[in-house]
Amino acid sequence: MRDHTLNPFIKYLGRRFFFLLLTYFIALTIVFILPRAIPGNPLASILSRIFQTGQANPELLRSVERTLMEEFGLGKPWFVQYVEFITKALRGDLGTSISSYPKKTLELIIPVIPWTLILLIPSILIAWIIGNTLGAFAGYRRGSLVDRIALNTSLIIGQIPYYWLGMLLIFFLSVKLKIFPGQGGYTQGTIPNLSFSFLLDVLSHYILPSLSIIISALGGWAIGTRMLVVNELDSDYVSFSEHLGVKSKTIFGYVFRNSLLPQVTGLALSLGGALGGALITEIIFNYPGTGYLLFRALSTLDYPLIQGIFVILIASIYLANFFVDFIYAIIDPRIRLGQGES
């Protein structure tokens, strides 16, 4: 009996894992091709800096250019570069950054990851909780004034481009009212340390970017949950309970919980993508996360850094997906059993 249930489950996970590896490999290939498809000179950021120091002379420039071409293998045919990239990436070596040469890309990526996760995870969670509660409440009272207000505001908020929202927040709360700082992860010039004042400083810089994410994500969650709740309200068990005279508060509780399942999936997925940072939000707020690092890498055409960020980002999204699949299989027996049948 036990064997019968375990086998399809493992089979299911094995199959998911195989596809995961295959798509990851395809993703790596795309990650290799895309930055190279952007026209531009990846050595421009380093070489142009030589002119600035007033030490530019043709021999020096030529010598440095030649050395850098060799160092990054830029002169080699693309397939040689590709094979090198894949074999190194599989060994965990993501190469050396061009714009921050000779720093390893991992040395640049790892320190910014906590900043991004600290910005995004709580913001996503808060948006999720508020949005779902709001949506469920509106759905349950569908047609009421509360619903109409909640639905319309959510629709509007959900459609506001989040970068615009970010700029509005900076303009009003930072530039005009000067309540919160609008730039950076902490006051420029302070040295990060574990003091109370520094943490307070980080917090004050945290609020605006976090707020822009919460507000813009909230609407989407609310609308989604409202839909689910409305559907759920048509279920037999609801009319059954209503006929039995169960308190509406209790029914609301049932409906809310039952509508949450797809929203949990959505949450897990957006948390999985969190590592990529809220690219534009981080750029607008000059927030020292992975999104901002990616922006810098793209604007200097730092191939290894772009690749490195995507390799890690894609892996995290895939892991989140895998995790969701795994949870689904546990929650919903139809999935694992269905695999066995086919």
């Binding site: 026209p39 531009g40 000179n41 990846p42 421009a44 950021s45 380093i46 070489l47 142009s48 800096r49 002119f51 120091t53 007033g54 530019a56 002379n57 043709p58 021999e59 020096l60 420039l61 030529r62 010598s63 440095v64 250019e65 050395t67 850098l68 714009s99 921050s100 040469y101 000779p102 720093k103 320190p111 990851i113 906590p114 900043w115 996760l117 600290i118 995870i121 709580p122 730039q183 420029q188 010039g189 302070t190 040295i191 990060p192 340390n193 574990l194 068990y237 309970s241 169960v246 209790t250 509780g253 049932y254 919980r257 039952n258 949990v264 020292p288 604007s299 200097t300 055409l301 929650i331």
Partner: protein, 631 residues
């Protein structure tokens, strides 16, 4: 009794349990993550503001390395950490002996430099001629590093004894400009440190970060004190070897905060949070004229900034019809020089002289053949006037007829355009200039529009020669100006065929054997009068063919605030130049400023040798070489 219960069991309890577990995992992982914040547990106490010079404009991304052999050395390494034998000042045309004490010309091909007996590395080991020779050898092996490319001009670098190093110029056709530049100006690294690295291979030399303040071995009066992705702080070495010769530089710390962009850095400067600014500041004069701040640039009035090289309108030879010198001449007349510098550049530079010689520095003026330029362009100062009528006349006369669309055709029927004029997106001053130039060129019947690609894209087009019109720089002013500018713009040997990227110069692929002959002859000539004659010849060529049309001088971004530090070099008291904080030769600035409230004193050694100081005029070295025997 029945009712809610079975319903609750359907999914409620299980769901709730799962959800709360999920949340617990997430929240606890968040707490864990917050402990990972890049916090430096050994963070230093805040550095005292009045002991620190705060800089802006030198660094815009996280610091990388303090190793001169890495191609991407962090701001501050060249000016503050590693010293050359001599520093060069292009305003005074003098050499300041740093690690070197003096030079001796042995014969026309050999020069010896004596190293100061006091000179020591920060770990106490003496700085020797072996360090110098080793630096050059290692550079040759690695391909990057101090004096990269030296072996094209210097035949050998040899330690005669511990404190004497000998340089031989490469013959035949010696290039004294590049020879002296490499021999005197190259930074020296500690042999005992790099030898150890070299044992691990050349990769180890290049990838050495040199970011541990405790282990840094430097020759300058500062070394790294603290660095993180947003801050670099250098700290003074109080028992520096040179303190009895030069004294100590005044600031105890030099700090640079990595700002996101120009506006945020400039804001810090305006607020008095930064003292030494090397950024582009729009309408900088308003800071003292309107806002009354204790802030200044080099000049109190126009052009406010010293020049840092010639900025050209380059027209590529990639499209054949654009090669015609007559067409180029008409274009030169059509550029709205004065108007555009006023509107787009805040008057930060006068119009550049068509001779390619920077006429803001007194010492360079001697190279300008004023007579020829005046005759050619018909103006008092010999500069190109903006004259659309004349431009149209030239084209009419040369047979460039206008088509029905108002666009001219070459005499053999080729339409002039569509062309683009491009600069990188975000370089707002240059972008505006492009618009203004394009507008005038359309008025003389050329179909041209502006394009503002990303910097890397623009750079790719520039270095491969595949562009129509661009605004771009030259090599910057050195003691070999204007020769280096002629060379940068006209020497075909510096570049590669169209389509292949080359950063060394001559973006347009101008190819003229006549120019090359002169380019080789000038630096081999020690006689000043003869050199002048040769330069004059070259001047005629560049004004005839116009491989690049000189627009203006790129500003040497230098502004200072006297909120915390006073006595900065400036026009009225020009005791040292270059003064931008990213210039490799700006260290002396820190010796002459003083804390607010104290009286600044220009160091006595900052006068020329004939007045009791240590500064050696370049002319003195030339004279010694002239007088020397050939053997």
């Amino acid at each position: 009794m029945y009712g809610p219960k079975p319903l609750k069991n359907l999914g409620g309890e299980g769901m709730k349990g799962l959800k709360s577990k999920f949340l617990v995992i997430l929240i606890s992982s968040f707490v864990l993550l917050s402990l990972l914040l890049p916090v430096n547990s050994t963070a230093q106490v805040a550095i005292p503001r009045d002991e620190t010079v705060y800089c802006i404009g030198g660094i815009w991304g996280p610091p990388t390395t303090w190793n001169p052999y890495a191609a991407n050395v962090t701001w501050g390494t060249d000016p503050f950490l590693f010293m050359p034998l001599f520093y060069y000042s292009n305003a005074k045309d003098v050499w300041l002996p740093a690690i070197g004490e003096g030079y001796k010309v042995i014969n026309k091909t050999t020069i010896q430099v004596k190293i100061r007996p006091q000179a020591k590395w920060s770990d106490g080991k003496p700085i020797t001629a072996h360090d110098v020779a080793y630096t050059f050898e290692l550079t040759k092996k690695i391909g990057t590093g101090p004096g990269a490319g030296w072996d094209a001009y210097v035949a050998s670098v040899r330690a005669v004894d511990a404190k004497t190093v000998e340089f031989k110029v490469k013959t035949p056709n010696p290039n004294y400009f590049s020879f002296l530049g490499y021999a005197l100006g190259t930074r020296v690294v500690p042999k005992h440190v790099y030898e150890e690295l070299e044992k691990k291979g050349t990769g180890a030399v290049r990838e050495f970060a040199n970011d541990d303040p405790a282990k840094q071995v430097v020759s300058g009066p500062y070394k790294l004190f603290f660095a993180d992705p947003n801050t670099v702080i250098y700290g003074r070495i109080d028992d520096w070897w040179g303190k009895d010769i030069f004294g100590l530089p005044k600031p105890k710390y030099i700090t640079h905060i990595v700002y996101k962009d120009n506006p945020s850095a400039n804001l810090a400067f305006e607020k008095g949070d930064a003292d030494w600014a090397s950024t582009f500041i729009p309408a900088v004069y308003e800071l003292w004229e309107k806002k009354g701040l204790p802030v200044r640039t080099w000049f109190k009035s126009k052009p406010y900034y010293m020049p840092d090289g010639v900025v050209f309108l380059y027209i590529s030879y990639f499209k054949k019809e654009l090669a015609d010198p007559t067409l180029r001449k008409a274009i030169a007349y059509a550029v709205p020089y004065v108007d555009m510098l006023e509107k787009a550049y805040f008057g930060y530079s006068p119009q550049a002289h068509p001779s390619y010689v920077i006429d803001v520095f007194e010492i360079y003026k001697q190279w300008i053949d004023y007579g020829y330029s005046k005759y050619l362009w018909g103006t008092k100062d010999g500069k190109v006037p903006t004259d659309l009528k004349k431009a149209n006349n030239i084209l009419d006369k040369a047979g460039y007829k206008k088509g029905p669309d108002g666009i001219r055709r070459t005499p053999d029927g080729k339409r002039l355009g569509p062309y683009t004029i491009e600069v990188p997106y975000g370089w707002t001053d240059w972008m505006m200039m492009c618009e203004m130039i394009a507008e005038n060129l359309r008025k003389i019947g050329i179909d041209i529009k502006t394009e503002f690609p990303d910097f890397t894209v623009w750079a790719e087009r520039m270095t491969t020669g595949r562009f129509d019109f661009i605004i771009s720089w030259d090599a910057g002013p050195g003691y070999d100006h204007p020769w280096n500018t002629y060379r940068f713009v006209t020497d075909i040997r510096l570049t590669l065929p169209f389509g292949q990227s080359s950063w060394s110069g001559n973006w347009t692929r101008y190819d003229n054997p006549e120019a090359i002959k002169l380019l080789d002859e000038i630096p081999a000539t020690l006689d000043v009068a003869r050199r002048k004659a040769l330069i004059s010849k070259l001047q005629r060529i560049v004004q005839r063919d116009l491989p690049g049309i000189p627009l203006f001088y790129g500003a040497h971004w230098y502004a200072y605030s006297e909120v915390k530090w006073v006595g900065w070099p400036r026009e009225e008291n020009a005791w040292w130049y270059p003064a931008a904080n990213w210039s490799a030769n700006s260290l002396p600035v820190l010796f002459g400023i003083a804390k607010k409230g104290e009286t600044p004193k220009v160091p006595a050694w900052l006068t020329t040798v004939d007045k009791g100081g240590v500064l050696i005029p370049t002319s003195l070295i030339w004279n010694d070489l002239m007088k020397a025997t050939t053997k």
